[in-house]
């Protein structure tokens, strides 16, 4: 589903280049459950934004569902994002003037879906995250855990194949954090591909595949407990020492 090949992203910070992503090569299959961990500033969010087509690599290639994304026009990228990818952020990013229902409905509104199908889809995902009775609440009338579940519902409403969660539990207490993770894992069991960035060791361990990033590089990539050395340097790094 996702094939990143030698992807680089460099920022110039005070004259010195900062490699947010340093030659990252990574492929992810449909239905995988993958956690990304690593120290602050190691490039986890940058990687996630890259996968979510919100950010563009400076070099390298990115195939999404077999489509080369580097050459796609902005409008096409936006459509791919809307139809295939659901984002969940640490800061929820709900629009305060809209009700829970309207926030969840927004991706469908942007896609120009008819009112009727919107209503049933929103109802369905609201029930899925256990907030069927909070449809008309504004964000300031909901708890943190509820807000994140609204955000999850919004990410789900277009029936995406890929869910990207950047520290979804970062602003939550452990109980509501656990609830949120359970919702996400349930979705993964139903077939959705889930990529989860987290600082929480316990949460990270639950994933079948775990990636550890350091300084923009993938340092470790292990599956179900068996450690697999990172693939970095596998391509284009055959130069003799």
């Amino acid at each position: 589903m996702i094939v990143l090949d030698s992807v680089n992203k460099t920022y110039q910070v005070g004259g010195t280049p900062l490699h947010a992503l340093d030659n990252v090569t990574l492929s992810i299959e449909t239905g995988e459950y993958l956690s990304v961990m690593g120290p602050s500033g190691s490039g986890k969010s940058t990687l996630l934004n890259m996968i979510g087509l919100l950010d563009h690599p400076d070099s390298g290639s990115y195939l999404f569902n077999g489509v080369a994304t580097e050459t796609l026009p902005e409008q096409e990228l936006a459509r791919l994002r809307g139809e295939n990818i659901g984002f969940i952020f640490q800061a929820f990013h709900l629009i305060n003037r809209l009700t829970a229902f309207e926030n969840i409905e927004l991706p469908m509104v942007l896609a120009g879906e008819p009112v009727k199908s919107r209503r049933s889809s929103v109802r369905q995902v609201l029930d899925m995250v256990g907030l069927g009775d909070r449809a008309d609440h504004k964000p300031n009338q909901l708890s943190g855990g509820q807000l994140q579940r609204v955000a999850i519902a919004r990410a789900l409403v277009m029936h995406p194949k890929l869910l990207l969660a950047d520290e979804p539990t970062g602003n939550l207490d452990s109980v509501s954090g656990k609830e949120v993770i359970e919702v996400l894992e349930q979705l993964n069991r139903e077939g959705i591909t889930l990529i989860l960035v987290t600082h929480d060791r316990h949460i990270g361990k639950r994933a079948n595949r775990r990636i550890r990033m350091v300084d923009g590089k993938i340092e470790k990539d292990e599956r179900q407990g068996k450690g697999v050395k990172a693939e970095r340097g596998e391509r284009g790094d055959h130069a003799p020492v």
Partner: protein, 403 residues
């Protein structure tokens, strides 16, 4: 995104930023209303003139001495006059079929005095025809007698104000006044009426044309006003006038003919131009409203940066974001325009109740022009903020960072 959804989305933004929206509505509304109201004043003036002319209710043709190439302009008051237009010329024109009445006019100013009171006033030397042509009547006494077209009678008709100045409450009909160096008997007082075509009918004196000739020591007429019957062709009559004048002026038709229509058209042109100019000046207020919208939109874009980033993350393209912000401005301007139109027409209605004589009404183009300019200004001035919003990098925007 569907139009109804976009309007709803924009409306929720307006609700959220109520005060800001209200102020912008006010700015646009004032702009639109001022264009409509000010052009209504100009148009009202034009209609007023129109109304004044048609209150004469007849078809007038004015013969002026001297040839003037331009048609339609204001009649020349003093021009180079090659050959005088005479009372005999005027009387000859009476033979033309379809002519209802003829008023030869000599105009000047003289001092009119009685006992110790005197007054310098406009003096019209004319005939009984003048009263027909100008739809004038006397309030007291009589108009000039028919013989006034051939004899230098020592009689006069006074305007009401002049009469009051000279006589006060004393009876005036049959009394003598001094007009220049002559004595004349007052035979009539004009009925009370204000200005007509720039002539203050209340402060003037009308005397027989022959008398005026002697008084001003000149056989030349100032002009001849001809009142035509309704069905008479103006073009044919003009031809006949020219042929008669040619016979009488040794083969030269050295006169200028001005029809009432042409005069009306000239006034109309001037006032229409004036109205357009006023409209253009008031449109500046719409430009100001446009700049205000741009500023506020820029503020709005930076305040809603996080929201814009989110919209992009959940599938909005740059184009959709641009459309959303442009739509917001246009919707605001439409609402403001409606407010402005309602206010303008409300004011016009109130004015029409307060001053029923002045026909205040917007020219047909005022409303579409005002709204058009408002929309255009809104469109132009929202391009920049909307492009700013569309160009935001979603990752940075969601972090709430400047770019």
């Amino acid at each position: 995104m569907r139009l109804s959804d976009q309007v709803r989305f924009n409306t929720l933004v307006f609700q959220r930023y109520g005060v800001r929206t209200f102020l912008l509505l006010l700015a646009v509304g004032i702009g639109v209303a001022s264009v409509i109201l000010l052009t209504s004043l100009g148009e009202g003036a034009r209609r007023y003139v129109d109304q004044e002319f048609s209150s004469l209710g007849n078809r007038l043709l004015v013969v002026l001495p001297g040839r003037k190439e331009t048609t339609g302009g204001a009649p020349p008051i003093y021009g180079t006059v090659p050959r005088d237009l005479t009372l005999e010329d005027a009387n000859a024109l009476l033979r033309i079929p379809g002519v209802n009445a003829i008023a030869p006019v000599i105009a000047g100013t003289t001092t009119v005095a009685r006992e110790s009171r005197s007054r310098e006033v406009i003096t019209i030397g004319t005939t009984a025809g003048f009263f027909v042509v100008r739809k004038l009547d006397v309030g007291k006494g009589k108009i000039l007698p028919p013989r006034a077209d051939s004899e230098a009678l020592a009689v006069c008709v006074l305007g009401v104000k002049l009469q009051r100045e000279l006589f006060g409450a004393a009876p005036s009909i049959g009394q003598w006044v001094r007009v220049g160096d002559r004595r004349m008997r007052v035979i009539g007082i004009l009925e009370e009426r204000g200005e007509s075509l720039g002539l203050d009918l209340r402060d003037m004196i009308i005397i027989p044309v022959r008398t005026a000739e002697q008084l001003f020591n000149s056989p030349g007429l100032f002009r001849i006003i001809i009142d035509l019957n309704v069905n008479t062709s103006i073009v044919d009559t003009e031809k006949r006038i020219r042929s008669i004048i040619r016979q009488r002026h040794e083969g030269e038709d050295d006169v200028t003919l001005v029809s009432q229509d042409a005069m009306l058209a000239a006034f109309g042109n001037i006032l229409t131009t004036l109205t357009l100019a006023i409209g253009a000046i008031s449109a500046i207020s719409l430009l100001v409203a446009g700049i205000l919208i741009m500023n506020i939109s820029l503020i709005s874009v930076s305040q809603r940066r996080e929201e814009i980033g989110l919209l992009k993350a959940i599938g909005a393209s740059s184009r959709q974001v641009r459309q959303l912000f442009m739509g917001e401005s246009l919707l605001l301007i439409s609402l403001g325009s409606i407010t402005g139109i309602a206010f303008a027409f409300g004011s016009i209605f109130v004015a029409s109740v307060l001053w029923p004589n002045f026909p205040l009404a917007p020219p047909v183009w005022a409303v579409p022009a005002a709204v058009g300019i408002a929309l255009l200004a809104g469109l132009l001035f929202s391009i920049y903020p909307a492009n700013r919003a569309a160009g935001l990098d979603p990752v940075l925007a969601m972090r709430g960072l400047q770019q």
